[in-house]
Symmetry: C2
């Protein structure tokens, strides 16, 4: 298959050949070979056509390729992403987090159904680095969002499994590109709220929503420090029945706490509200809040500015991660680090001198 | 001059010769040469002897060497640090931050005088990456701490000037080592409270104190998000006269806000108090709080654990910084980054593919 016109830009980009796999055009014979030994594989163009024509099965297959660690799958995946890239961006990306037990699934289902029944196409993705191939993930669990799982205007995808947080975050980010090319205009990215995932999610969404339980005074909610400040809105869930008064009190406490922070760059004042995913009380308010944020930040330019910054940030983070991983995963460096660790801890050499020596050793290694 | 016995450990450390300056023993003739063309220079052993014998002038000279960008000064400095390292660690390191105007100088003087008059030896250092050789720094300004500047039990040092935050932080960290070898048992490290310095300071102190103004509801206090959560104690300064009630209200607000956070790893509950550096009200309470923290964390092992973690963290940070700086300061990479930036922003290539290509190009460069 000849190279698609989407590949023209390759000529103007860097010429890089030094030992790193780059997405190449995949020949039909190569695909045929793989078809025999693995699950069904298609050509990049076929995935792309399927995605933009609303074929959910092709979309799922393409995302599975993204999540695969198989090198050939990765090559195909990168080509599909490349084709989808010019068609990405046309959605509202919302990060949703909260500790286990706060009712994320019920909430996502309630808000999700509201959106799908008013004309939106909703994709629900998740980032959970603790998920595994065998055990799965507690997020994006279709059994807990049954009404949404069977909704033709919704698409739910569990978290990519295992690997590093950086790896999982990248795969989710790339899945967003595909979903947007597929026409989804609202994308939820769910995280657990007790790990490092929130920072990763915040770097790829437009709006960050934090769900809290009504027992606000209870420090055991376990939300990591720093996450509260990331939130564009905090909603106290399960504000129903006996918990209504508690939820109201919690709302006041969080409003006071947020009041102590400096103004945000966007000019947006983080909102605190209450809701009940069960009774659906306040769900409308959540969406109104998100739309208000969108309206403000699109009119003052912050929305687009943030997206541009995120693209560069993701690139810089990926560079930094690669430089570090190559260093720390290097066999010689691992051994050297272990040797030097004791000396630093027992004050035989300073942290800085240790670092200098290790990096110098590494550069010597790289020259070989 | 033969190598000092403190250098024995070099034989067990890494053998590194690949193009990086390592502290070497400085010959007497080299020093004599430099004496002719620069300010007075001494041998590492002479600085060391002076420092441990309480010679403040030698301590100052040694810190000046640490701050110098001159390669030969650096060599001597590193040897002095190496000698001091086994004698370091025997102090309480306290980070003090707050916006300009909160009264840090008056506060440091009030608390400082209390300490020096009760038998302590106090060193006051500062981290202010915005300081310059000509303009100096707003921190560690001796004219604003006159009583302390003339106190024979105190030693005040303005921030190292300019350079990166990482560079300034390193120099301050190394100065701490010298001050501890010199016998100072309490060390203040002051920062401005509006930059990135706080994270750097938090990584090198035992206790982090945040000073706030009484007008707590005023978001314009300008304290960066995240700093409040770092604090082991928050003291509302200028709690005197007409501001007394305001200060009390602020104290309650911050106590409520801190209450919403998860428990700290140390088991310490961050304290909120009020004080007046002018009337000296509450200054005693500040010191009591710090001593309580010390007592708790030394008995449960957290104090030592934190110090060990900091040593390693500083090493890893220095490694990461070096890997990144060498990449981003590389001429070829700078040009390549500029070329690729536009393509990423206009969705021609994904952030990740851009990163992969750049790093591959870089490794090709390094092999030359």
């Amino acid at each position: 298959m000849t190279r698609d016109k989407h590949h023209k830009h390759h000529d103007s980009a860097l010429k890089v050949n030094q030992g790193v796999e780059q997405p190449e055009s995949v020949s039909k014979s190569a695909v045929d070979r793989y078809k025999k030994i693995s699950r069904q594989l298609f050509l990049p163009e076929e995935y792309f056509r399927g995605i933009i024509n609303g074929d959910r099965t092709m979309l799922s297959r393409a995302i599975t390729l993204i999540e695969s660690t198989n090198k050939n799958h990765q090559e195909i995946a990168q080509e599909v992403i490349e084709k989808c890239l010019p068609l990405s961006g046309r959605s509202l990306r919302i990060g949703i987090t909260g500790v286990p037990g706060v009712g994320k699934s019920t909430f996502i289902e309630a808000l999700g159904k509201k959106l799908t029944s008013s004309g939106h196409q909703l994709a629900v993705l998740a980032i959970d680095p603790s998920s595994s191939r065998t055990k799965g993930s507690i997020l994006g669990d279709k059994t807990r969002m049954e009404a949404l799982a069977t909704d033709k205007n919704a698409f739910i995808r569990p978290s990519p499994s295992a690997g590093s947080l950086g790896g999982v975050a990248r795969k989710t980010r790339e899945s967003i590109i595909l979903c947007e090319a597929a026409g989804f205009d609202v994308i939820f990215v769910e995280t657990v709220g007790v790990g490092q995932s929130e920072t990763a999610v915040n770097a790829m969404v437009d709006f960050f929503l934090l769900l809290m339980l009504p027992g606000a005074g209870d420090e055991l909610q376990g939300i990591k420090r720093g996450i509260m400040e990331m939130a564009d809105a905090i909603f106290i869930n399960k504000a129903d029945g006996d918990n209504l008064k508690k939820a109201q009190r919690a709302k006041t406490e969080y409003q006071n706490a947020l009041h102590l922070y400096p103004p945000t760059e966007s000019g947006w004042v983080p909102k605190v509200g209450t809701c009940s995913a069960m009774t659906h009380e306040g769900i409308e308010e959540v969406w109104d809040t998100i739309k208000q944020y969108e309206s403000l930040t699109k009119s003052n330019g912050f929305f687009e500015q943030k997206r541009q910054e995120q693209k560069l940030m993701l690139m810089f983070d990926a560079i930094d991660q690669k430089l570090k991983n190559d260093f720390y995963l290097n066999k010689t460096m691992k051994a050297a680090l272990d040797a030097v660790r004791e000396e630093v801890l027992s004050d035989k050499i300073s942290s800085y001198v240790a670092a200098q020596r290790l990096v110098a050793l590494y550069y010597g290694e790289k020259k070989r």
